[in-house]
Point group: C2
């Protein structure tokens, strides 16, 4: 009975936005009660490099580095394969200061995209990128300081203007939610390095085979490079990619200054760039992004990023690409923060993404 509701809902996907909206509630209510039936789950590590210290290892003086090795700069992934899985798994890549936690339980305790997409029969790979979380061994020395910065993030992630929440924001307003949200951050254990990250991302796709890549925020940049480095990336859904849009050499747009920073593209040879024109790409941005320059750094930074994202969409599509950029308020979806996939309406967002994957035949 409940299964039938879910099935009829999915068959409605692709019909209309109204259908999706009517459907989301029923799917959520039903799905939360059904068990997840997992054919296989576990974790794996891909990519990375090794250094060897000169000399000979002396087991009687094991604290000396002589003759010892150090493996680092790999990516860590926790994977789950549901029974009757669709052919293409989804690799979920977190943003700055985040980890695989981004896609798990939301800060207010609902199901995240990990469970939601498992229920829709997609295999999931949740990663900790190199130099983060459980993939913490970095090839570059780093100092981590406990510098108070959470009000910056509250604003930057467009939950509101601290201590006030935006009207209608899709984020639960209670102390435990913000406690869980702030504690979901985890530091870099080495510098952010696009080449290191995308090398590991490509190694992961080489290992697991063809799949779909979801990226969040800062994960967007290494995500584009991963698709350039591995043909196994068959599609990208980028949630608010923050910077490092990849343009062909000679076609870089002018930098876009904002009250927060200056947003710049990154150039690659055309032979590499064309990889981005061969796969369907969906880019989503949430609410409370101003149309015109404003003084407030947190808001203005997203105005500049969205503007750059539109220029990038046009650049890829001009060369034959298939980029769809959706600014959610334009289709009537309001209140989304920078964490679109864990916001209160994340089932509605998952419906939107599922519809995209279906339209592009990535779900079969």
């Amino acid at each position: 009975m409940k299964k039938d509701i879910v099935r009829s809902c999915f068959s409605m996907l692709g019909a209309s936005m109204l259908g999706l909206a009517l459907c989301a509630g029923a799917v959520a209510a039903t799905a939360s009660r059904a068990p997840l039936v997992i054919k296989d789950q576990g974790s794996l590590i891909a990519g990375g490099t090794v250094i060897s210290h000169p000399g000979a290892f002396d087991p009687y003086h094991p604290m000396k580095p002589d003759g010892q090795t150090y493996h680092g700069d790999h990516v860590f992934a926790f994977y789950q394969i549901p029974v009757d899985a669709r052919p293409l798994p989804i690799v979920m890549w977190h943003g700055a200061g985040q980890s695989s936690k981004s896609w798990e339980t939301t800060a207010d305790g609902r199901e995240g995209f990990q469970n939601i997409f498992l229920r829709r029969r997609f295999s999931t790979y949740l990663i900790d990128q190199p130099r983060r979380g459980d993939a913490g061994r970095s090839m570059v020395e780093t100092t981590i300081k406990p510098t108070p910065d959470e009000q910056l993030w509250f604003n930057q992630f467009r939950i509101g203007l601290w201590p006030n929440y935006f009207d209608g924001v899709q984020f639960a307003r209670n102390p435990e939610t913000i406690n869980q949200f702030f504690r979901s951050m985890t530091p870099n254990t080495g510098p952010f390095d696009m080449e290191v990250l995308s090398n590991a991302g490509a190694a992961l796709f080489d290992k697991i085979g063809p799949g779909i890549l979801f990226t969040h925020s800062q994960g967007g940049g290494p995500g584009w490079l991963t698709a350039i480095k591995s043909r196994n990336v068959k599609a990208i859904v980028a949630f608010e990619p923050g910077s490092s849009f990849i343009f062909p050499e000679g076609e870089m747009p002018a930098p876009i200054p904002s009250a927060f920073d200056t947003v710049q593209g990154a150039a690659v040879p055309m032979a590499q760039f064309v990889a981005l024109t061969k796969i369907p790409i969906l880019v989503l941005y949430g609410d409370n992004i101003p149309d015109h320059p404003v003084d407030l750094p947190a808001q203005d930074s997203w105005r500049a990023r969205l503007q750059m994202a539109r220029q990038w969409r046009d650049a890829v599509n001009k060369h034959g690409g298939d980029v769809t950029l959706v600014h959610l308020p334009d289709i009537g979806i309001r209140g989304n923060t920078h964490f679109i996939f864990s916001d209160l309406n994340n089932v509605q967002i998952a419906d939107l993404v599922t519809k995209f994957l279906a339209e592009k035949h990535l779900d079969r």
Copy 2:
């Protein structure tokens, strides 16, 4: 048919060692094919502290710490609740330089204790302890250096004497296994602090309710303190606890010097110590631990630790406790490294632990 084999095997548990040994193969072969049926899964964060920088937050200068907060020193847990779960979940606490990965897929690609105990209908909580992995926000500044040290760990974890493996060691001998094993390490993002760790551990047990605690190596110390701080710890299975055994004040044994370091107990008031006498505790040590002092630091360190563990067992039991210490070679189980739960014979080890939990009525 296959289910029946599993059921009859479990009904044999508690019968005899021979029964267990005969059973393990059948369970492993069957279990690897059966899907995991998960009623609920997700992640949560417990405990921790907050600091607030004096002053007022200025959204126009968000990089200044004034008026901003920093949450840290919490514990992160990924949990899975199977359908028809046994009442007490198992919290799995990693050792030094490790993470939740310890209990997931083994370095050679077999199922770890996460899946094995889910299949036996125990809920599992895999943690990253404070200042580690996805719980990386530390209240204390730390510098992380990529110092080559893996040959030290190869020896210290008793896989062999680098580059040679011990005869009969329960560890797969191929390059990809050692690659995955070394890359499973992830650094501290703050100093190891028993109080910080056990406060977070107790906060986790306060949040999830009564449960069983599995600890590995360095996790042993904060594990004992967690049981002292939370009555929800109903039993402990400690895999090769490395140090920080807790004794009553005035009953501390003499430190035990070794070729690696000196093993010392830690003292608490008797009123706290008695908590450890109220719960069943199983302590397991693997193979290749010498009986008498040897020159090699890696081997001798475990000789001293096992000796201290025996003194600790006697101290707890003298006060009415229920500690069982098993040195696996004494019962004919040979070749185990420091990672007993992920060794090649980890199903046999899981059988031993399952039998203990059944005998202590912790499985119902």
